[in-house]
Symmetry: D2
Subunit: 296 residues, 4 copies
């Protein structure tokens, strides 16, 4: 059985610790929250691990992750291995890896998919870095990934950064799929030709082309709230959707579906659209078309 | 000087009568509104015209226009000419023309652009029908179209229906252009890098690639309301944008810009989006992402 | 065990007959192709069925289906039931149902999903029509649908037309999902950050948010042809995608993802784009930008 | 009359020198091309200018411009002024300005629109930087901008960077407008309802809502080549369209039209689309739909 230091015991990290322990691995967790942590500091956590150590970072992307990597650079030793399992931008990985490589500490980036269901179902994993480092961490990956053939829930995508790159694209696809279901749902609701919309969607779970985990989740949501009117059509976006679109720009790849899905989220968060005020103003100017006055 | 029967004296028809009379033509208008009409009924209007008569219809597209054509079929005589200057769908024209042709009455369809500015600036005209009918009505077209070379403000597009077809596509392009300006306006507003947004837009009126009448109108709107916050981003659509998209479908022509402009209008009118409620519900299901509850 | 007349023994109908017979039902098929038919004519097929008869139509949508319905109207008797399992437009269903109702013959429309895999996996079914007619045909539906709970692979969507409506929306969603995967695949291919693209996609099959039947099929395609370069990026569209977009127009529902997916198919079939020739011409006009001459 | 150093005498810079000289200004140009240059080196150019000097850079954006700024930092003196009139990304301007400010040299960024027509029509100008620097260069701006009121062809957009920002958004809008015309053109061509497409487009030049300089250029292009079939639908993109989309991402502003226009250009340059190969492969997998084999 392997031993792992795990930094960040939020929604994801906490569940991953559960799954790893259930598989028999030893996990020394660290979190600023004293209610969940197994150690009092990063230093304390590191001291509790036998070498060569493996430390998994599961903290927010960006500054928190970069800072954690820097601190680990000072605490770990030659031959140790750091895995960033958060949602970092893939360009951060090369920087993190170089910083640690200067101290002969290994680095892997690991995209982790599956959300709150991962604890029981396992997590889809996409890993970037050296094959020898991947090999070292394989017992951990095998415990986190779903049951079944390894290559259906885990991939070694390539060099450092490629794991997060694969996860970014995965999320871009996810944006598009979710929006496709969402448009279909709205069409069914609006047209009122189908009388029992939740039943139709539930009936798509077997045999159809659209059967998928997202469909299963939509069925679940409709079971709880058949018209989804307990919540608002207000949708956040995390970094991956934006980064996917940046990659489309950088590589001159048309991405009309992924961009449309991202823009729909942007629009969902606007109380009023400056763009549409401009269109209303133009119509009013040329055609004397009536406009809604603010405050009407 | 020519003589014209003009049915429909609303915002457009009223102004057209003014322009035609200013050019010296005789116009006998008919409208249900007694304050503006020149005749008490269609029959009365027709009786006041010398043959061969030319009658211009300027009433709402669809049923009102079709019904007016049918009534005229009973009132007019062989050799008369009917012109539909409204925003009819081009497929209506063939039906109207055939109905009148059975009585040897001519038919032209005429797309009219220019809005409330047409009275003074002239109207852009696109005409479909037989060349001999176009010739008969040319004094009317010449009075309605803008000053300058005839072929820069008037076209004979082809057979019956082609005038409205050209106008439909014109409006589809207009949707796209307006949305392009609108997105640019919102970006300038949102980024706050440009300090004086109205000045920048005003400064685009000469020398730039985007100089256009729509830009002039946007400048005018910003003169009156520099942040366009006296109105709401709520935008109606008339038939032409939808029909243009139907034509894209029917002809397998990609129309991503025109469709995006149309969908932006649809979205502008939604209080809350069922689609985005579905996306929010899915995110909540898989990730435990927080959602805005209705009523929050 | 039930008895069924089945008209149309092409790719779909042939497999459905296999599945129905494997379940113990008696199927009398009719097809113009003598190699596969069980009867020499529609009349012959009908004569081989005991009343009250159930006849399933599985021929191309549009004229062929409408004509088959009309012929069945002359051959069947009061109390018989016709099921259109093809990809008819939902507006055809009301017409078909009324025609048969005049002769007291029942009518159901049934959207069928699952493609060539349906023979073994079962077909996802969405049915529109009267509950009593649905009840009569339930043994057939139960044999065609996948194993598992009935309501996960079958739905009674509502009145006549709602089955095909549900199938149309299903296919619109499918278009969007496929395009989402397609854009992700192209991004992975273009960026070359991920070294082993098929392995990453294969590794998404378990635990991830995008796991789905379409993903499984993409994995299968990549197993056979890892860069998908044995085929061309030329994609047909059938009616459902277009009709879904028409519904979006008719109901003023924004459908940016589904429309983008449809337009991508349109564009994939163009050797050269008139639109992009116009953009090239404009750039050349204002900027003297070089253009590719035809034939270069 | 003012004196100006002008670096870069390509298509744009050469014409600007002509226009400035025609207005009576003294221009000392520098270009690596000995056929057009007025000086043998940057040093030589600077030596020919009286202080306080104004130097206009008109070289490609990115490295060439940044390097020229650095060299000018070594050659110019306190109180001199550098204007970057190229298509630099607005984020470069702050860096350039700071570098020069360390030597008390002023800096303005100036977006320049109008293409090859600017020599005769004047250029639309958008300037960022200190008001005092703008004032110094006003005689130059007045000579370059079009006839007419200054504020219709020139704007002081705000601080350093805002001129290029305004130009970037201008170009984003331009992308959308061009694509709108392009889609309209393709629809007219494809549907064949309008018999005389060039005549219809020519007839839009007066009175219509879409009248614009781009329309005039489209008319000009159609005069030369009525079906635009002397060129290919292959369209380059410069930085501004991509940067506009990046700004949309960074500011969470929906930009469906501008992104669609950019993606259409990306797609126009693809011989074959990996994305559409994936869609074709998927259709083949589930439906046995025929595919075009590469090389067919």
């Amino acid at each position: 059985m392997a031993q792992l230091g795990l930094i960040g015991l939020g929604k994801m990290g906490f569940n991953m610790r559960e799954r790893l322990r259930a598989a028999g691995h030893e996990v020394v967790g660290y979190d600023r929250n004293p209610d969940v942590t197994d150690s009092t500091s990063l230093e304390d956590m590191v001291s509790k691990l036998d070498g060569p150590r493996i430390v998994w970072i599961m903290v927010p992307a960006g500054e928190p992750t970069r800072q954690t990597v820097a601190e680990l650079g000072n605490l770990l030793s030659e031959g140790d291995l750091v895995i960033d399992g958060g949602n970092s931008k893939y360009t951060d990985d090369r920087i993190n890896a170089d910083l640690l490589a200067a101290k002969k500490i290994g680095y892997l980036d690991c995209g982790v998919s599956g959300g709150v269901w991962g604890k029981d179902n396992g997590y889809g994993l996409m890993v970037g870095g050296a094959a020898s480092d991947v090999e070292k961490a394989m017992p951990i990956f095998d415990a986190l990934r779903p049951e079944g053939p390894r290559d259906e829930g885990f991939s070694h995508a390539g060099a450092v950064g490629s794991g997060h790159y694969a996860k970014m694209i995965h999320n871009g696809i996810e944006y598009g799929m979710m929006q496709a279901f969402a448009e279909g749902f709205e069409l069914l609701e609006a047209a009122k030709v189908v009388e029992n919309v939740p039943a139709v969607i539930k009936g798509w779970q077997r045999g159809t082309v659209v059967r998928s985990w997202l469909l299963d989740l939509l069925v679940r949501a409709l079971d709880e709230d058949p018209e989804l009117d307990d919540l608002e059509g207000y949708v956040e976006d995390s970094g991956e959707g934006r980064w996917t679109l940046e990659e489309a720009i950088n590589n001159a790849v048309p991405a009309p579906v992924i961009s449309a899905a991202l823009f729909a989220r942007f629009a969902s968060r606007q109380e009023d659209s400056a763009a549409m005020r401009a269109v209303a103003a133009l119509r009013n100017q040329f055609g004397g078309h009536s406009v809604k006055k603010a405050g009407d």
